[in-house]
Amino acid sequence: MSGPAELPPTALQAAFDRASADLAFPAPDDRPPVLNDVPPSAEQESLLDRSWRDPPGLLGALSAINHKTIGRRFVLTALGFFIAGGLLAALMRLQLARPDSQLVGPDLYNQLFTMHGTTMMFLFAVPVMQAMAVLLVPLMIGARSIAFPRMNAYAYWVYLFGGLMLYGAFLLNIGPDTGWFAYVPLSGPEHSPGKRVDFWAQMITFTELSALLEAVILITTVFKLRAPGMTLNRMPLYVWAMLVTSFMVMFAMPAVMFASTALITDRLVGTHFYNPREGGDALLWQHLFWFFGHPEVYLIFIPGLGFLSAVIATFARRPVFGYPAMVLSLIATAFLAFGLWVHHMFATPLPELGKSFFTAMSMLIAVPTAVQIFCWIATLATGRLHWKTPLLFVLAFFAVLLLGGLSGLMLASVPLDLQVHDSYFVVAHLHYVLIGGAVFPLIGAVIYWYPKFTGRLMSERLGRWSFWLAFVGFNLAFFPMHHLGLHGMPRRVYTYPAESGWQALNLLATGGALVLAAGMALFFINLWRSRRHGEPAGADPWGGGTLEWATASPPNAGNFCAVPVVHGREPLWQAATEPVAVAGLAVDRREVLVSTTLEAHPDHRLSFPVPTPWPFAGALATAALFIGSIFTPWAVVWGMVPVAIALTLWFWPRRRKTAEDLALETAP
C-alpha cells in the first residue's frame, strides 16, 4: 500500500533531513526489530537506552523529547522561578519591616507584588506540579514514555519563553503592576496605559497554553500507557491526583485564557468587554478570573495531596488507609472547586442570597479534605514510621494546611469575609494553604524522588536543618499576618503609617520571612551539593511500593526494558506473580505498549516519535507571535507563517521512520 514512505522527496524534506533526522540514530532502515526478553539481557538494556536517549550536542539538547529530560528541565525552571518569586517577596518584606519606609517606592512595590503573585501562581505552582508529573507519572505507571513527547517538549519551551518574557519586561522596568489578578478597569487601557499589563496578559497566554497541553498529555498518558494489569483502581494515589488535576486544568484554564484575551483586545484593538461606559462589565472579569482562580488553588493543592499519599505510604510501611475514599475525595474536591469562585467576590454588590450558596459550597469542600486527613492519620497510627526528611516535610502539612483550611472556613462566611477580605488575614490564609498544602509536600517529594533521577540521596542533616528553619520561619512570618488583618491592615499596600500600630507584627513577619528564606536556601544548597556528593542510592533507597522504584536510579532512557505486569496496588511490596513483565516489545526503536483505559489490558503496540528540534522552533515561532501581538494586532497574521512552517515540519513524515514503523508492523 502507499504510505507516507512513498511520498516524493521534496526540498523541504531534504532540508529537514539535514537538520534533524540524522541527529539521533544510525539508520536501522527496515531491519527486523530486536525484541526484549523477560528478564531482559544487558545488551537489550543498552539497546533500549540508546534508542530512547536524547541526542548529544546543542542541537540535541534543543531536540530533546525524553520525558525525564523535559521533566527535569521543567522542574528546575519552575524552581528557578520559585527562587525569583521568593526574592521578590523578601524585598517586599524588607520594605514593610518599618512604617513609612523609603526602601522601595510605590511603583516598584506594585510591580514586586504583582510579579511575586504572578510568578508563584503561574510560573511556579501550577507548572511545577505538572513538571513533577511529567517526570514521575510514566515511571509510576510502568510506561516507557509520556504520551505526545514532542508536544511535551513544545509545552516546556512555550512555558519557558513566557516566563522569560515576563522577567525580561520586569528587568526593563515595564513589569506588570496591577496585581496577579489584574482587576479591570485598573488594568484596562484607560488606567494602565503602556505595555505593562499586556506583558502580564500575554504571559497568561503562554503559561495556560503550556498547562492545557500538559493536561492533555498527562490524561492521555494515564489513560492509555499504563502497564498491563494496572487497572484504574490499582493506580497509585499520586497518579490519581494528577489525573484529577489535569481534568481540572482542562476546565479551569479556558476561562482565564478567554478573560486575558478579552483584556488584550480591550487594550489593543478597542473592544469593550470590560468597559461599563460602553456596555461592558467590570465584574465580568472577576467572574471569569475566579472561575479559573479558585480551581487553580485546588489544582496546586491536589498534587500536594498526591505527594502526601505517596510519601506517607512508603514511610509508614503500609498502603494508605481507605483507597476508595481517598480517590473519591480527590474527585469530589475537583467538582466542588468549580462551585465556589464567588467567595472571592463577597464584597461586590452581588445578590446576598446567592452568596449564601457559595458559603455553603466553600465550607462543604472541607469535607473531602477532612476525609483524606483522617485517612492519613489512620495510616500513620497503624503504620511503622521510617523517620526521614521527606516524611518530615510532608507531615508539616498537618499543622500548616490544617490552620490554613480552618481560616478558609472563616473566609467562606460572607459576614466574616466582609471584614477580613483583602486584608493581611487573607495573605496569611493563602500562604498557609499554598505553602502548607503544596510547597512543603513538594519539597518532601523532591527529596523523596531525588535519588531516582540522580542516583544519590540528599543529605539528611541539611534536610532536617532546612525543614526546621523553614517551618519555624514560615510560622513566624505568616501567623502574625492574621493579626495584622484583624487590626485592619489591607493587602497590597506599599507602606503604612506609624500611627497604625502595625510595625511590631510587621517586623516580626519580616524576621520570620528571612528565617524561612534561610531554610529554603539550605534546601537548594542541599539539592545542588547532593547531586555529586550525596550518598549513592541504588534503585530503591526507601523501600517503596510503586513501580518507579523497580527500575534503576537514574532510570534507563526507556524507563523499563521489560514493561512490568501489575497484579495489585503495591506491585513492589506484593509477592511477584506470573507474568511479571511483558516480552516482545522492540528495544532498538521507540515502541510502547498501549493499554485499555479502564482495565489496562494490552491493546496495541505504538511507535513513538524521535527527537526533533521542531517543537523548539515551533515554540520560538509561537513566542514571536505572542510577543509581537503585544505591539501590533498584525503580528497574529504574519506570526502565523513561521508557526505554520514549524508545525508542518514537526509533523512531516520521514522516510526512515516510516520504513522503521512498517518493519515493526510486519515483525513476528
Binding site: 485598573l186 464584597a347 461586590t348 498537618f398 480552618l406 466582609l418 471584614q419 506484593q574
Partner: protein
C-alpha cells in the same frame, strides 16, 4: 482606631460575635486534629528502610479504623453545617439593621481620595466634603457607593464590613456607630500607585455636635478676614488650583479633586497622608509627588511669602 476586634457599631459587633464563635470552633478542631496526628505519629513504632511493609490492609478491611474515620467525618460535617448556619444567621442580623431616619451619604471613590456628598430632601441642604465622614452616634447611615475610575473598597473595620465601589455599578453599605470616636478606614481593593495612601476617617459624634458640624459644612467659605488671607485667596483663584478644586462661595468650582470649602476643619491632608497643619500643607502644595508619588496633584512653586498667604487662607477655611 482601625480594628475588627474592637467594634464601635452594631454591624461590626455582629461580625465580631461570629468571629468569636468561629475562632472557638476552629481552635477546638485544630487542637483535636493536631492531637490525633501527634498521637498517631508518637504511638506508631519506628521502622527502617527494610522493614517489610504491612500489607494486611490489601487483604481485608480495617473496620475499626473505618468506624473512626467515618465518625470524625460525620462530626466535621455536622460542625460545618453549624458554621454555615451561624454565618447565615449573622447575615440575617446584618440585613435587619433598622434604617428609619437614616443619614444618606453618597461616596464616590477616586484615585486616591474619597468624595462625600451628604444628601438631603431639600437640595439647598446638600453639601460636599472629602476624606472625613462625620456621622451622628446612634443613627443609621446608608452609604451609596460609586466609583469614578477603578474599583475601590470602603472599609472601616471598627464599624462594618467592607464594600466594593465598582465603576458602572451602585452599591450600598449600611452601618450605625454606637460609640463616639474617630475610626480610621482605608481603601481595601488595590487601586493603583497610591492604594496605600487612600485612607479616610469616620468621626462619630453626638447628634448635637454632628448637627452643628453639618450646619457649618453647609455654609460657603468664610470671606478672608485679613490682608494675608485675601492675598492667599487671590493666589488660589488666579492659579491652576481652581481647575480641580471647589471652594464654596468663590469662583473655584472644580470637581476633580477634593472639595476644599472647609479644609481647615479636617484632621488630615491628601486622604490621610499628612496631618493638617501649616507646614505639612505648604510642603504638600509645593511637592505633592514626594509625599504621595503618583498623585494627580501637580506641585506649585510659590515664593515663601505667597505660600504663607495661601496656607493661611486655606487653614482659615473652617
Amino acid at each position: 482606631m482601625q480594628d475588627v476586634l474592637h467594634s464601635a457599631g452594631v454591624q461590626a459587633g455582629h461580625i465580631l460575635d461570629l468571629w468569636r464563635l468561629m475562632l472557638g470552633v476552629c481552635a477546638v478542631v485544630f487542637a483535636a486534629v493536631l492531637l490525633a496526628f501527634l498521637w498517631a505519629v508518637l504511638r506508631a513504632p519506628r521502622a527502617g528502610r527494610d522493614t517489610s511493609p504491612d500489607l494486611s490492609a490489601l487483604q481485608h478491611n480495617e473496620p475499626r479504623l473505618l468506624r473512626r474515620v467515618a465518625w470524625a467525618t460525620a462530626l466535621s460535617t455536622l460542625l460545618l453545617f453549624g458554621l454555615v448556619g451561624a454565618s447565615v444567621w449573622t447575615d440575617r442580623a446584618l440585613a435587619q439593621l433598622p434604617l428609619h431616619g437614616a443619614l444618606h451619604v453618597r461616596v464616590t471613590a477616586h484615585q486616591w481620595w474619597w468624595d462625600l456628598q451628604y444628601d438631603d430632601a431639600e437640595p439647598s441642604r446638600i453639601f460636599t466634603t472629602a476624606n472625613e465622614l462625620h456621622v451622628p452616634v446612634g443613627r443609621p447611615v446608608i452609604l451609596t457607593l460609586l466609583s469614578d475610575d477603578v474599583i475601590h473598597s470602603f472599609w472601616v473595620p471598627s464599624l462594618a464590613g467592607k464594600k466594593d465601589l465598582i465603576p458602572g455599578r451602585t452599591a450600598q453599605l449600611q452601618f450605625r456607630a454606637d460609640r463616639a470616636g474617630t475610626y480610621r478606614g482605608q481603601c481595601a481593593e488595590f487601586c493603583g500607585a497610591q492604594h496605600a495612601r487612600m485612607a479616610f476617617r469616620v468621626i462619630a459624634e453626638e447628634p448635637a455636635a454632628y448637627e452643628a458640624w453639618a450646619a457649618r459644612q453647609r455654609q460657603p467659605a468664610a470671606p478672608p478676614a485679613d490682608a494675608l488671607r485675601q492675598r492667599g485667596q487671590q493666589l488660589f483663584l488666579a492659579g491652576t488650583c481652581v481647575m480641580c478644586h471647589n471652594v464654596g462661595g468663590t469662583d473655584a468650582t472644580g470637581r476633580r479633586a477634593p472639595d476644599l470649602t472647609h479644609l481647615g476643619s479636617r484632621q488630615t491632608l491628601a486622604a490621610g497622608t499628612l496631618p493638617n497643619a501649616p507646614e505639612p500643607l505648604a510642603a504638600w502644595i509645593r511637592d505633592p509627588q514626594s509625599h504621595k508619588p503618583g498623585t494627580n496633584m501637580p506641585g506649585h512653586d510659590y515664593s515663601p511669602e505667597d505660600m504663607q498667604a495661601l496656607v493661611a487662607w486655606l487653614r482659615g477655611l473652617e
